[in-house]
């Protein structure tokens, strides 16, 4: 028996409104949740176009017949990875779709297969938590014929490279996620990772942080989770209290995670261990976490799983982004000994649904950058005032090192997908940023000039 996908109406609308000129192909992601009994799809997002600059533009192909072969799988998977970072706990990329003209329908199946395996592999990289036996490893592929709009839905078990396609149901429904329960918590971090003598920063920074974070992630995974202050046994139904025909309302649950203060030593030592280190990395602050569950009899154990995974993901995503940025911009000598702000999580509502997605703002970015990114990654407009930046406060300690004045500040090209080389035409936000820094630089210079004049006046008056 195949899986059954319950899909939001808006997805149908989105897919039917996709502009697919002539004989071109469009790829995209399917976002939702899978449970053992049912699967839900709440969003569909097309793969954003790459800049056409003499490079082949895979998603909008002008050639017929062989467009599928030139499909840039890497581009699709990278989009999937970036989108995954924007999804709260419980919600993930669970499939891909492909719109092709009728003559490519047959080939499309192979392409979809390649895509779904590649996407799953790429988004699982760097994951700090482990899948359990209960996790659903079937992912969905959807083929849409651009002419007839006929939909073929199949699933693959991405754990098994030899798995074959299984047919699945694709059913549209309204209000799929209106009553999806929401779990929230804020987690404090105070982690110190030693940098052993043999390691050299900044090259080994990633290694040191990854090792440290792995230990921390295990503590979170093994930790105890209270829901609304209660240690519920795993099999208890979360929404058990609701009457059958009661109006579906989204409930919010507060999660608390308790871990032992430390793990007792495994080896029988009588002295403290001593390691020679060349430095340390201290990660401090608070992260805001959110996770959604489906409404099909979710149990307490699912709830604790999704919120814990969001906790782990949000920390590892930010660290990854920070390190990627560092790699791209090169080592900033002034960053040693200075507290550098990691990207801050902000939330934005999904239009027409009671769900939120999130994004990360670097210290020198602003809300309009987030809005631009949401447009590019998720293909919808978000009014700036609907973006909630209040969940995580800006760190108080000044992060500007006056030596390397603001002019040198990194230009973050967040909207260009990091795996690709930067395109010089760039994005509008880059120009915007340089404006920002320019003005700031002018202000700084003016202030210094004023100070200088002031001092000199004092001298002269003597």
């Amino acid at each position: 028996m195949g899986r059954g996908y319950i899909v939001e109406d808006v997805v149908e609308k989105y897919l039917s409104n996709l502009s697919v000129p002539g004989a071109s192909c469009v790829t995209g992601l399917l976002i939702g949740q899978s449970s053992s009994q049912r699967d839900f799809v709440v969003l569909a997002v097309r793969t954003p176009q790459k800049d056409t600059e003499g490079q082949r533009s895979p998603s909008v192909s002008r050639r017929t017949g062989d467009s599928l072969e030139h499909l840039d799988v890497e581009w699709v998977t990278e989009h999937a990875r970036q989108v995954s970072r924007m999804l709260p706990g419980g919600i993930s990329v669970i499939g891909v779709f492909l719109v092709t003209p009728p003559e490519l329908s047959k080939e499309a199946q192979n392409t979809l297969r390649r895509l779904i395996f590649a996407v799953d592999k790429h988004i699982s990289k760097g994951r700090l938590w482990s899948l359990t036996e209960e996790d659903v490893t079937e992912k969905v592929t959807l083929h849409i014929c651009s002419k007839t709009r006929k939909v073929v839905c199949r699933t693959f078990d991405v754990r098994d490279p030899k798995s074959s396609a299984k047919p699945a149901d694709w059913k549209y429904q309204s209000g799929v996620c209106t009553s999806w329960p929401l779990l929230t918590c804020s987690v404090g971090l105070n982690l110190v990772f030693p940098v052993l003598e043999m390691h050299v920063l900044p090259q080994d920074m990633e290694k040191c942080m990854k090792e440290g974070l792995q230990t921390w992630a295990k503590q979170i995974e093994d930790g105890l989770c209270l829901i609304n202050g209660d240690a519920m046994p795993g099999e208890v139904e979360l929404l058990g209290g609701q009457k059958k025909n009661a109006k579906a309302v989204q409930q919010t649950f507060r999660a608390q995670i308790l871990i032992p203060m430390a793990e007792p030593q495994s080896e029988r030592r009588s002295t403290a261990s001593v390691k020679v280190c060349s430095g340390s990395l201290t990660l401090k602050g608070m992260v805001q976490c959110r996770a959604y569950l489906h409404s099909n009899k979710p149990r307490a154990k699912h709830a604790t799983e999704v919120i814990k995974r969001d906790v782990i993901n949000t920390v590892s995503s930010r660290v990854e982004m920070f390190l990627e940025d560092l790699l791209m911009e090169g080592e900033d000598k002034g960053s040693v000994g200075v507290q550098q702000g990691l990207p801050r999580r902000v939330f934005a509502p999904v239009p027409g649904m009671s769900l939120c997605v999130c994004d990360y703002m670097f210290p020198d970015e602003c809300v309009s950058d987030v809005s631009d990114r949401l447009k590019e990654m998720l293909d919808w407009e978000t009014p700036e005032d609907s973006i909630d930046t209040s969940q995580e406060a800006v760190p108080e300690a000044p992060t500007i090192d006056l030596k390397n004045t603001v002019v040198q500040k990194k230009l973050k090209a967040k909207s260009t997908l990091d795996a690709r080389p930067k395109t010089p035409s760039g994005d509008p936000t880059e120009a915007h940023k340089s404006h920002k820094t320019y003005y700031a630089g002018v202000a700084m210079a003016a202030a210094i000039a004023l100070l200088a004049t002031g001092t000199s006046l004092i001298y002269l008056s003597d």
């Binding site: 804020s186 308790l258 009588s270 390691k275 201290t282 401090k284 602050g285 040693v336 990691l342």
Partner: protein, 464 residues
């Protein structure tokens, strides 16, 4: 042990981590002290959570004793916590033994574990990363916290929480002192807490000793504590082996401890029982996969005596095997080499020789030419149990036994002997052992009235 009191035991690990920029002593001491101070703050933080073992209850002691379970509010008496602890299936038999354990002052302990709530953030701003580039030594270990407090069962939960946090802080202080006292360079010895039940009026105390330092090197410290607690200076109370054994922690070696406490003592007119002091293990035929049925009774009695000296902290060596006992006798010249591996019996004299050779313990030998004379040895035996309190090995006729106590009336001359019989070949079943009299009170007719007997009365070394 004050009636109406409850004992709470809080255990957990605290991570001790510090960076030493240099290895000169004043700097190291400063950093260690600062790290302990930081741990003290952690323990007083709102994120500290105490988990009530075997229950779904969690307490936040630094938030006024707020708890998860709805029925428990901070001003309820702490004895209510006991009702929430889930016991296992044999609840009825547990209740039965709980009654008997009223003699044991630590029955009915409430166990708690240290946890922290990561979702109670001290900071509220987004994360930052700080890169430090100073070369340093990183010291890392976990501190094995173990606090015991005794409180009135009517005391409110919020007050008890405060007491527990206070106990944690003061234990950290003790640990800091021990760590600094025994520190050498960058080698930090891990401070370990031990609980001791000292004679009234002192009661329960906790002492922190550095790991890896044997008792023999800690005599000065023990002398300080003996004078602080006004303990006699000729017997050990504060060696690690004297540490209180909590009833909910089974002995891992599988031997029964003090089976005699489960017996009812004979009521003699104007008489009273005089019993072995402290803790011993019951050693008998067929244990340790050694088939000594028919010849090893004296060896087993000797093992019981050795176990007593080990558990009272006089020696650190383990209870000797039959082989080791025979080896010791060959070494002192008492037996020929051919004795090794044989099934030859030994008597009280040999027992005394082995105690001396392996444990450095001297013994008094008592001789009776006829078993009937034992009936008149009440006073002597009673005095032995009063002053030395060690188990006695008695050999005569063709049998060896262990005497654990005597009940004797000065006026009527009635006498009973508490006997631990090494001839038992069954499993470590307390019920069988007490019901069938393998550990039990016997009358003077128990002895062969015509045989002669030798008794080995081990003497306590005068040491702390």
């Amino acid at each position: 042990m004050v009636v109406g009191n409850i004992i709470l035991r809080l255990r957990g690990s605290l991570e001790f981590k510090c960076q030493l920029d240099s290895t000169d002593v004043p700097h190291v001491q400063k950093v260690i002290s600062r790290t302990f101070e930081a741990l003290g703050s952690q323990v007083k933080a709102e994120s500290l959570v105490l988990s009530l073992s075997s229950s779904p209850v969690f307490l936040w002691p630094n938030k006024g004793g707020h708890a998860t379970a709805g029925e428990i509010s901070p001003n309820r008496p702490c004895k209510d916590l006991q009702q929430l602890i889930q016991t296992d299936d044999q609840e009825s038999s547990r209740k039965k033994s709980a009654k008997k354990d009223l003699k044991n002052p630590t029955a009915g302990i409430i166990n708690l574990t240290l946890m922290t709530e990561v979702t109670e953030p001290g900071v509220h701003s987004a994360p930052t990363l700080l890169r430090g580039s100073k070369k340093h030594h990183l010291l890392q270990t976990t501190l094995p916290m173990d606090c015991v407090v005794s409180v009135l069962s009517s005391e409110s939960i919020s007050v008890v929480c405060g007491t527990l946090v206070g106990a944690l802080c003061s234990q950290l202080g003790d640990m800091e002192k021990v760590a600094l006292r025994h520190m050498k360079g960058t080698a930090l010895l891990i401070p370990q807490p031990f609980h001791f039940l000292l004679p009234a009026p002192v009661g329960l105390v906790t002492v922190v000793y550095p790991a890896g330092v044997p008792d023999s090197q800690l005599e000065t410290r023990r002398k300080e504590l003996h004078s602080l607690f006004e303990l006699p200076d000729n017997r050990p109370y504060l060696r690690r082996a004297n540490a209180l054994h909590f009833p909910d922690e089974p002995y891992k070696d599988g031997y029964l401890r003090n089976p005699h406490v489960h017996l009812n003592h004979p009521a003699l007119e104007n008489g009273k029982p005089y019993l072995v002091q402290g803790v011993y293990s019951y050693h008998h035929y067929m244990q340790d996969r050694v088939d000594d049925n028919g010849w090893g009774c004296a060896y087993r009695s000797l093992q019981t005596i050795c176990s007593w000296f080990q558990q009272q902290g006089y020696v650190e060596r383990a209870v000797p095997s039959h082989k080791e006992i025979q080896q010791a006798l060959v070494e002192v010249g008492d037996k020929q080499v051919s004795f090794l591996g044989s099934r030859q019996w030994i008597g009280s004299i040999e027992v005394a020789a082995v105690l001396d050779q392996l444990l450095g313990v001297t013994s008094k030998i008592m001789f009776v030419s006829q078993g009937s004379e034992l009936a008149s040895k009440g006073r002597e035996l009673a005095n032995h149990f009063l002053s030395e309190g060690t188990p006695i090995m008695i050999g005569g006729g063709v049998l060896a036994h262990t005497i654990l106590g005597v009940a004797w009336s000065e006026t009527t001359g009635q006498i009973r002997y508490l006997i631990l019989d090494p001839h038992y070949t069954g499993a470590e079943d307390l019920q069988v052992i007490t019901d069938k009299g393998w550990c039990g009170w016997k009358g003077p007719e128990f002895w062969d009235q015509n045989a002669y007997y030798n008794l080995c009365l081990p003497q306590r070394p005068k040491t702390i």
